[in-house]
């Protein structure tokens, strides 16, 4: 840890940085294994747009407002119907809003729930794919190491284990 990356007065940043430099250095293998698993687990924050399969339902979520008034009849009768439909809407819209308020809230909630299920499924799929890749990489590394051991005439030698971690230090709990 560099002192310029620390904001502390007591102890000073320099003192803390000095102490971190005195820590036992983890093995290169352990560092490399950590780097690999962090890399495998990295996930840049990307905007998650609404799932495409819910877009149509989302467009119809607010059921308070109908499509523009139309009539299949022609002529004056059709025009009168359209005008009366518009007038009806205009006069009764506040009541329609009130009647459908709960329905709109329900639509919103159910769409949110569906979107959440979709997002959770996506996360599970992503995690499983990452985990599988990581397992395959580990297997490949083990096989390569076994191959090297075999070509070196140590066919019966033990396979290299995952890199050892540091020995536990004393635990202080203040």
């Amino acid at each position: 840890m560099r002192p310029e990356d620390l904001l502390t007065r007591t102890p000073t940043a320099e003192a803390v940085a000095r102490e971190t430099a005195k820590l036992p250095q983890p093995s290169e293998e352990a560092r490399e294994a950590l780097r690999r698993s962090l890399e495998a687990a990295s996930r840049p924050a990307t905007p998650a747009p609404w799932p495409a399969l819910l877009q149509e339902a989302r467009g119809k979520m607010d059921s308070r407002y109908a499509e523009p008034a139309t009539s299949h009849r022609g002529g004056l009768a059709g025009l009168a119907l359209v005008v009366s439909k518009r007038a009806f809407r205009r006069v009764f819209q506040p009541f329609i809003n009130e009647v459908l308020r709960k329905q709109v809230e329900f639509n919103e909630s159910i769409l949110d729930a569906l979107a959440t299920i979709h997002d959770v499924q996506r996360e599970h799929a992503r995690t499983q794919a990452t985990w599988r890749q990581e397992m395959e990489h580990r297997l490949a590394r083990l096989e390569a190491a076994a191959g090297r051991a075999a070509s070196g005439g140590r066919e019966d030698g033990p396979l290299p284990a995952e890199p050892p971690t540091a020995k536990p230090g004393p635990i202080n709990k203040g």
Binding site: V16, P47, A48, W50, I171, G174
Partner: protein
Amino acid sequence: MRYLQGLLRRWGHPSDIFAEAWDDACKDQVRPASDYARAAGQDSVLVVHHSFESRLVPLIARAPGRKVLVYHNVTPARLFEGFERKVAAACDAARDELLALRPHVERAFAYSRFSAEELVAAGYRNVSVLPFAIDWGAFDTAPDPALRAELGDGCANVLFVGRAVPSKKVDDVLRVFTAYQKLYQPLSRLVVAGYLHRDGAYGAYLHGLKDVLGAERVRFLGRVSAAQLSACFATATTYLSMSRHEGFGVPLLEAMYRGVPVVAYGAAAVPETMGGAGLATLSDDPAEVAELLAVLERNTALRGQVISAQRARLASLSQDAVAEQVRVAFEGVLSGRVAPSPAPPPAAPVELVCPGFTVRPEEAASRMARSLAERLPGARILALRPRGAEPALALGPEDVGGVPVWHFTPDQPPGRAPAPLPGASSLETAVRVSSAPVVLLGADTEVARAVLPHVRERAWGTYEGPPAGPHLESARQHLGRRLVVLEPSRPEDALRTLLSALPSTGGVSRAT
């Protein structure tokens, strides 16, 4: 809020709490917000606590009496991206409400200078910092014996307390803990105490991440009782926070109170909350932060120094000291006197938004900002404060190499190049409230992405290198032909284009 109500009542002022929604536990202490207009008179004072979308601005605007804002800060929506689109939209709406509240409020308080800076940037008058009142006695609950025995088994326990939401970056806590466990202390445990929405995308992500990282002994406790929380702290070796946004950060102080050394990523108001105590770091590299956990665990002397410094930090936050500071802060409000607010600074003819101007002066965007500022009289450069610089309530020009620059605190410490620069809520707010044309020097930065939807009609932007990446695509959609390529080898082309287009130089007519 209840603490403030108690103080007000103690000083002889009747006080009620009005809210839209509340827990059953406090149903006897709260009245519905819709009752306020009827209950209030012209001599009433409404103290509005703002931290999330409330949809109450119209009610507040209509209500009689004087109004005061207490700003807890709003989490930037970008921190919820990819996980919580509804919460992200609500955070954006809450920032809109912050601006909508401004004309109705005569005085504004914030719990940190970081939050206060945003209020000043938003154009609020009479902004000051209010000390955060903490009921320290509530932390003295006896530990739950069963959990204490379970966690006190000899492992080095790393503790995080808080809701497991994306902005708290519990995933980074997991990363740091994994590094600590694999590099320094295999006999360690991570304890996360706080609500975790297991059926949500972030909950699924965290559980998957735990498997991929291969960390052992990770405990997500969910919501815990006061006694269980005490057990967590009593058995904790270190407290770790990698949160990207805190308006103040009470759990950090709680850990200090309970004698647990704190390691925290210095984002938002975290360094201010810690006040130089504990170990706040500007690095989010898991291996580097793990070094701090390791050194605190192994070095008894250093650990003792940190704990002592933490205790000293809390001395300034005693209940009596805080109550007196709150009384002084509210004196003007309660007496009806309003301090005259300074005249707002003259509007700049052009806003040159260059987040990296001071932290990365060698970049082409910074050099372009300088060239533009030298040619556009009165134009102001808006940039991020350097790493470690403290927030300030007085925003104003600072001379940087002969050019006046307005600095704003970034939401997270700026990383070293080529890491992308972080956003800055206060800078973004300052750009939004300005009516001047805006030049976004770095149209693919976080700041540009946040402000573009609000200033697209009056904005120009520049970008370097190949036109790729989702941020740049979004900028292209907003700006169209007003997005200009900045070739580092031939900056004069972009400079000429911008100077001919900007209204203050006789280019296109000023947008509104």
